[in-house]
Symmetry: C2
Subunit: 786 residues, 2 copies
Amino acid sequence: MEENSSQYEEATRNNYMGGGEAEEERDPESNSLQQPLLLKRNRTLSSNPLAIIGTKVSHIESLDYEINENDLFKHDWRSRSRVQVLQYVFLKWTLAFLVGLLTGVIASLINLAIENIAGFKLLAVARYVKEESCDCRLRFVLIMVDAAVAAVLVVGFAPTAAGPGIPEIKAYLNGVDTPNMYGASTLIVKIFGSIGAVAAGLDLGKEGPLVHIGACLASLLGQGGPDNYRLKWRWMRYFNNDRDRRDLITCGAASGVCAAFRSPVGGVLFALEEVATWWRSALLWRTFFSTAVVVVVLRAFMEYCKSGNCGLFGKGGLIMFDVSDVTVRYHAMDLLPIVIIGVIGGILGSLYNYLLHKVLRLYNLINDKGRVHKLLLALTVSIFTSACLYCLPFLAGCSPCNPDLGEICPTTGRSGNFKQFNCPPGYYNDLASLLHTTNDDAVRNIFSTSTPKEFHPYSLFIFFALYCILGLITFGIAVPSGLFLPIILMGSAYGRLLGLAMGPYTNIDQGLYAVLGAASLMAGSMRMTVSLCVIFLELTNNLLLLPITMLVLLIAKTVGDGFNPSIYEIILHLKGLPFLDANPEPWMRNLTVAELADAKPPVITLCGVEKVSRIVEVLRNTTHNGFPVVDEGVVPPIGLPTGASELHGVILRAHLVAVLRKKWFLTERRRTEEWEVRQIFTSVDLAERGRKIEEVTVTKDEMEMYVDLHPLTNTTPYTVVESMSVAKAMVLFRTVGLRHMLIVPKYQATGVSPVVGILTRQDLLAHNIISAFPHVAKSKEREKGK
Amino acid sequence: MEENSSQYEEATRNNYMGGGEAEEERDPESNSLQQPLLLKRNRTLSSNPLAIIGTKVSHIESLDYEINENDLFKHDWRSRSRVQVLQYVFLKWTLAFLVGLLTGVIASLINLAIENIAGFKLLAVARYVKEESCDCRLRFVLIMVDAAVAAVLVVGFAPTAAGPGIPEIKAYLNGVDTPNMYGASTLIVKIFGSIGAVAAGLDLGKEGPLVHIGACLASLLGQGGPDNYRLKWRWMRYFNNDRDRRDLITCGAASGVCAAFRSPVGGVLFALEEVATWWRSALLWRTFFSTAVVVVVLRAFMEYCKSGNCGLFGKGGLIMFDVSDVTVRYHAMDLLPIVIIGVIGGILGSLYNYLLHKVLRLYNLINDKGRVHKLLLALTVSIFTSACLYCLPFLAGCSPCNPDLGEICPTTGRSGNFKQFNCPPGYYNDLASLLHTTNDDAVRNIFSTSTPKEFHPYSLFIFFALYCILGLITFGIAVPSGLFLPIILMGSAYGRLLGLAMGPYTNIDQGLYAVLGAASLMAGSMRMTVSLCVIFLELTNNLLLLPITMLVLLIAKTVGDGFNPSIYEIILHLKGLPFLDANPEPWMRNLTVAELADAKPPVITLCGVEKVSRIVEVLRNTTHNGFPVVDEGVVPPIGLPTGASELHGVILRAHLVAVLRKKWFLTERRRTEEWEVRQIFTSVDLAERGRKIEEVTVTKDEMEMYVDLHPLTNTTPYTVVESMSVAKAMVLFRTVGLRHMLIVPKYQATGVSPVVGILTRQDLLAHNIISAFPHVAKSKEREKGK
């Protein structure tokens, strides 16, 4: 099931070990040689298709977004009635609707659970603070239980549920399938793990997990249920392909962002700018429909909760961090602080990326040691977080309430801006206002406008420093975690600090400085522009902020890009996911695909009517997923010389296995008629995947029989001539979403094979090519061209 | 210079007429056989590359977005120093900045001019109404002068400046170049024509023209100035290609929308959803930068005008139609009117598309008769418009002012909501409030919130009916016109009418009904979703409207799609622009590219070292733009049989002409070294386009000499195997942005040509294929598959 590119290594190994037992060898957990961090690269053009998913090393597979045009598909497609086409369209929209609906409902329930659990906890803490000074024990116990539940859930059941999941979704839409990433167990653990982790007060957001939850829902709906209990509905068969699943997962990701930030347009743009590799206009519309449904669900839920039916659920409306009451009146003079915010955001963002990369490498080493280590790491971080959150406010002094503001001051417990904590009545502790609350409320408090004297610089600095540390050490632990909120918290703190410093020289409100700081750090770390801008617009509901937000984002992204790639790219690389970049490297223009093909073992082709024994041998001894089908010595149409060879197309491993399983064998070497194959195979049979050659037993007599591969061969594969440069081939491969690309010769003569080679994703990855062609890297250094 | 596909017809004709004089024959104005409306299609797979640009029939050309990787390009690319790469990147951003800056400045000046001219005119009219009842003469004179100036400008100087220009931009980004579309004269006429037409009070918007102005600016900047006065700057040479020009024009289009609606994110999304065919992440960012600059410029301009330096320029801020003061409080009950608005919007929108199509066909026949007819048509429409605008308010009664509202009532002249017109003091004429004002102010008035009794249903109905008629008859006249505002005016009227009707049953403000009505009609006619939604969000600054706007847009688009394609597609089709759709037709799966190639005359190939006489002959007798280069009987690398033929690549017509002009001829048949060609040609020479074979004179002696085409040949053309289905080939052609696609044989034998055919845009257009393969259309009918 792996890629062609790993053929040589695997084939050699299998030859020594004897075919069938290769499967055990591939189990990554048992293979201690394969260090997750430094996935081995050798000098031939191949690399193992291994990647770190969650906290585990797994085998990954490429997806096939190409339409597999074989005779059966064509017949099935031709025989679709108008009703069936309408069914398909209707179902597509229904699924998009369901993705939005379920994502909205689950997001609402997660919010409800988090706010209730956290609220109860914080109320308890507040009560204990009042009764006896500095009794940290109760909160410790509560938080440890919380964090432990989250960690145990993740570590124990679904390793793929750790982390945000966004890089894996990005990889999926690029064409890399990560196993167990979108299963029912992942979904459930992600939901409860996320509730546990966020309610525990860890420096984590529920945003990333929500995106993953949306994608899981989409994937489950698309395939008709969890793996073992699939709905075998006739209508669903049209969705049993990678293309429709990809579209649905895009809808799911957009719905997740929308549910996280209550930002429908931002969700669509996030999916477009950050997640999706391949996009088309119709998808824009469907994604938009899903997010519209999410917003309606969220709104209905909030209307319901307004009447007090939701326990401790807060008052937040559709706008999460509303700053629309501030009139923005800025002048040329204010340009300077805006530029400063942008530059600092870019520098801090790239520094954060750099440090997080180091921390993640370290954590991967720890996590690799086993479950106990994972659990201990998660618990250590939780305890450290709790200790800081609880004890640091004692460092801050008490401030008198300002009666002019009209807000309740001081407040005790969860809701409200001015926390009393250890202060006498009429006073509030500003650091406690930020720390003794859920992360969402902390952001709301730090964004609060028209309260210029609410926070001391000293408290803000402690807050900033604390969240810098927490943001670095928390992300890598084995719990579902989002990156958005930690970065917003950090960024808003330094933004507000800068606002305080600029105080006398600026007309912009401090709350807006906090917003801009958050935006700049996001852009500095995640390097998104339009989607972030719209998300911030929808978060804060202040359209007049738009021009300055845009400038800040552009500056921060530009500065950040000068130092390192975006955090998602760093994580993708760290996980070893074979992500194909949009832009080919410059040196790829100097290399032809023929040179790539030469660096690989010769391509294995099959005949149009092939012996069973040969098929079995090829399937057992290679891990390729597609084989070119070539007919030798055919009689071409009149006008062409005889003895020509003909490229018929590509046949997929899955279809070969299906033939062997159905035992559709011929006693003589002949071509079949179309009706013969249609009696045996339906397009539903061919859509089935995941069957292995090891499951098939073929008798000795059957080995001598033949199979006509013609009707199952995809006759329209994408091809490139061998003189094509790697740069152009890669653009083609990525834009069309291929799994295999055939290389045809530029020479035309009898005896020349019509297929020179076959290219897969792994062959086109820059670092694989460099390791196989070291001189390319050297000439790249010498020329310093970019 | 035309496409390959027109080869047969042209070649035959040229054979009869003798090469060189074909140019006159191609002048479309003089060829009375070519009816603009019914561009002739014949039964072979070809169609004339003719299209209606503005009000004239012109020859169009395909663009080449592929990187032409020949030896010279590769050398030039390898020898680029790091400094030159930085220059290129820096220049790219500078140009994006300049596009934004200039678009912003020009948009501000257009606004200033329109508001001052219209304001002066309306003040004069108001004075005359007061003095003597119903003296229509003055206004007539004023308006006729205005409209006449606009019409004369357009008809006389720049026929391509008529209409909105958005379809042509869409076609450009799809790969179709329309001549004189982005020249300096078009730009100037568009600016002044647009000012004239809008100030004249015609039912036209400046939005479409602004998009075109942005694109013109981008194109002019990218090529270093107008055609005759180009900046021959060394830095600019890297921009002398279709790819960079395409990116710049995308930035220009986005800037134009941004300047029109003061909607930066909406502008980017409009470019993405509606205009662009090809998109990548980096472009998103650059487009966004341009629109950010536009917004900053607009803002600075408005700040400047606030101090009263701009004459009659209005008070509008960055938000054009602000409805943010309304709190949206809607419940499940309000879903019904929302659905109704959406459905009506979809029906009316598609009806509008249908009727406009008919009107445009009629107008094309009139416009085709000559300049006088065009002018008369434009004048008739202007006079009708003026008569209606001026006289209809007399039909409406006077309403008493509501002193609670706090707005000035009644007002006289241009600014303000409640127009006095012919009413006594303390009263206002509601129809005059809508008609005696600029279109922008009319929208502002009809969107005005918390004024439930301002407009009588009777007046609104008159307004609606009037703008339905004007919207249909105005668009096609020969002035620069936008579609956005007429549709907004129509839609807002019926929305507000519906709001009035729903009055007692709904909680939504009537102003919001007007907004939703406008949105629904836009979606029903233009079929955009996300970009419209964001544009409306940025127009109205009310984020809470978002969910209902989304629903209305989705419903309206769905309903509209049930009837006919979007208005832009209709116009594209009407103009005969060869636009490649994103989705292939279903029947294209049953056709292979080999069948397409068979329907065309055999492909003309050149040898690697070719005789001059043959090159001249081929260039004179065909209109192809690219020729495959094939070496016969070459000695291939060891291991391959001798006598093979080799596909070397594709050479462009422009490069062949360059060789002939430079007279780079060899006395014997030999291959040259790389340094030889570099002494003669630079990459600047090869980037030059537009030279014709007719300009070249070759002596008889030179005719017998040879040219080595190898170093100038693009060695990495995109190819498809002959068994590829047309559907997949079309997807490839469009997604990679090709001009030529080679078809290679699936048979491999000595004597088989390595190139079976060559495909161009015209070959892949659905209606061209259907006319060449009538049985395909029949089977399509029979199967009713879609």
